[in-house]
């Protein structure tokens, strides 16, 4: 993501990364970033909470306009309330949680596969 942001910015297109992994944002150093301290997988808010999602996206876009120096990371005022997720996210031992690397499309549901394959055949 940071690679893409830096590339686009070098071409003259302003970018903003909205992410929830502060150290990964710091390492990649995108031109502008907004950090939301939520568990990974929730970069734009809590599930089923449209007000929260809108607040986060609005805050990010507002920051976008105000940031005028490269490499800034704005930390949003947002907390998940239940902090138990932090211990699991920071665990240094455990299983490999990545899926096996595979070159076949990984559909979320079998219905999706049928829909996509049907469409491909009729194209």
């Amino acid at each position: 993501m940071s690679l893409a942001a830096r590339h686009l910015e070098a071409l003259g297109m302003p970018t903003l990364c909205l992410g929830s992994a502060l150290d990964i944002l710091q390492a990649g150093a995108p031109p502008r970033a907004v950090f939301v301290d939520y568990p990974l997988g929730h970069s734009t808010g809590r599930p089923f909470d449209r007000a929260n999602q809108e607040r986060i996206v609005r805050a990010a876009l507002t920051a976008f306009e105000k940031m005028n120096a490269p490499g800034g990371i704005v930390r949003l005022d947002a907390s998940w309330n239940d902090e138990a997720w932090r211990a699991a996210a920071a665990a240094t031992r455990g299983d490999d949680t990545r899926m096996p690397r595979d070159t076949s499309p990984q559909y979320q549901t079998e219905d999706d596969r049928r829909l996509a394959e049907g469409r491909t055949q009729h194209r």
Binding site: L16, G28, A29, T44, V57, A90
Partner: protein
């Protein structure tokens, strides 16, 4: 509250499992910076999500350095959004409510309110778990750049998973 240190945690976890260390992208120099040419309320916004989002009916992503993209029309109903990403464990909530990663309702509302002038017709989606930085540079990024140019976007919001 100190932010979770993902790089340290993941590096140590995979070392303990006997894997070679994952090579995180670490920027070697300060980023380039392009000032906004006009206010956001007059700008056309493009969106890139690395969540592996696809729309029901599209071909899903695969898990081995898939550097392809999908276009997610901004008016897609939320219940048509799906995900395929090598780190599926982060998608539990997004599969219940995709808008915690792909906030189409919030974006449309902010457009309607005038916070942002226009939205591109479609968000760009890719699968973020690509281990080859070369493929990201040579295959993925040129596609993203091409679509953003075609969409004539002024600014881009990038949402990593």
């Amino acid at each position: 509250m100190e932010a979770v240190r993902y790089i340290d945690a993941i590096t140590q976890r995979y070392a303990s499992l006997g894997y070679a260390p994952y090579r995180w992208y670490v920027a070697g120099e300060a980023p380039p910076f392009a000032p906004l040419k006009k206010t956001l309320s007059r700008s056309r916004l493009g969106v890139l999500t690395t969540s592996g989002c696809y729309v029901a009916g599209q071909v899903a992503f695969h898990y081995k350095d898939d550097a392809s993209i999908r276009l997610i029309p901004m008016d897609t109903p939320t219940d048509r959004l799906r995900f395929a990403h090598i780190t599926e464990n982060y998608l539990v909530d997004a599969r219940r409510d995709p808008e915690c990663l792909v906030p189409l309702t919030a974006l449309r509302r902010l457009r309607d309110e005038g916070v942002v002038g226009e939205l591109a017709d479609a968000a760009i989606s890719c699968m973020g778990g690509i281990y080859s930085q070369r493929r990201v540079r040579e295959e993925l990024i040129p596609q993203v750049e091409g679509v953003f140019r075609q969409q004539a976007v002024d600014v881009a919001l990038l949402v990593p998973m």
